[in-house]
Symmetry: C2
Subunit: 197 residues, 2 copies
DNA sequence: TTGACAATAATGAACATTCATTCTATTTTC
DNA sequence: GAAAATAGAATGAATGTTCATTATTGTCAA
């Protein structure tokens, strides 16, 4: 009676089920503490399917990584298209990341709270991926257009994004109790004008 | 002929040999990618000794963690004793961390570039350890004494230390080519006065 | 100084377990 | 009815841990 079991008109595709299960498990307990069998159980899928779709455990993690990286890239592209000045682009990216930290916790956690080197090998490191190269482009332009202080590019990037990054981590770890969007204004003020009274 | 073999008057104690080997290996390839057998080989020590001294693989990592954490605590204590104003204390801590990033790379990497949850279980998280509680104390005092902008404590801490943290990571990963101490002045200026032109 | 003895530390082969992967059988799809 | 996808039991290599044996150190009486 296979037709009775099919409770949805459009059942979730197998590879999505796998990625969703893996995302949650990897974020909760870390890549190395999760076995393929656990992913298989949580996804309600056979081991064989996982190997057909992703080629193995590492393949699942890589699939997840590139999938999410792509979404971040689209986010950055959209911001670049809709905002013209580097300062506005910078602010909008932080704003959206803060929002996603509340609404898509595990996706943000996988991207910003995971050591990707655990499953990536040889691939370009995080900082050298498409969206993050574009982000450095924003910083570069901001300096060129005199919106940001002139500095070593990496120092400026660390200054502009390092503390946002840390805010996200502290929120994910539960240290910060307030939803990040509510802290956005104060945070941005500190970022742009400094911590001195 | 045991006397001929004894090439050093004071041979390095076994537990030091183990910790040193483990530090290098864990930093290079990550806790989960290193087997006890590799630590044993690199340390030139028997497996039994590792179990006698640390009780297992996790024990080695914990031993390393608490050893280094203790050194960081002493660093913070020394700074608290030698500098009176929160702003000076803050600056001195960053300065010393930047220096140690050049001179004691792996120690800094183990502390600031490792997911400690991989081997810590139940223990207080990084942010709640002695030295970091003291650091938040500095931020708190700085706000009270009107040296830093009044903010949510965690937001201020993220603003003050988040980008320093990121600088250290970028330097450890080789993205930043300049030794951090040379970037200290510019960095601190940005930190305190902001990124706006 | 010597030798006997106990206590402590070091050793590493053997063991037990975990877990990624393979592969053949089965089901579904077109 | 052929091709593609799924299933999951079986496999075996990797690796954390145990423990019986050996070596070292410290103590004290002769």
């Amino acid at each position: 009676m296979p037709y009775l079991k099919r409770d949805a008109l459009c059942p979730e595709p197998i590879d999505c089920k796998i990625l969703t299960a893996a995302l949650d498990l990897f974020v909760e307990r870390g890549f190395h503490n999760i076995s393929i069998h656990e992913v298989q159980q949580r996804a309600d899928v056979s081991i064989g399917s996982i190997y057909n779709h992703f080629g193995g455990k590492e393949g699942v993690a890589k699939g997840l990584y590139y999938h999410i990286l792509n979404e971040i890239d689209e986010l950055v592209n959209a911001v670049l298209a809709s905002h013209s000045s580097p300062k506005e682009q910078y602010q909008e990216i932080i704003k959206q990341l803060f929002e996603h930290t509340e609404t898509h916790r595990n996706i943000i956690a996988f991207m910003f709270h995971t050591k990707h080197s655990e499953f990536l090998s040889g691939e370009p490191v995080f900082c050298d991926t498409k969206p993050f190269v574009k982000i450095r482009g924003i910083v570069e332009q901001g300096i060129a257009q005199n919106e940001f202080l002139k500095q070593d590019l990496w120092v400026s990037t660390a200054a502009l994004f390092g503390s946002a990054y840390k805010m996200i981590q502290l929120r994910l770890d539960g240290n910060i109790k307030t939803p990040l969007p509510e802290l956005y204004d104060k945070f941005m003020n500190t970022q742009l004008n400094g911590m001195l009274v």
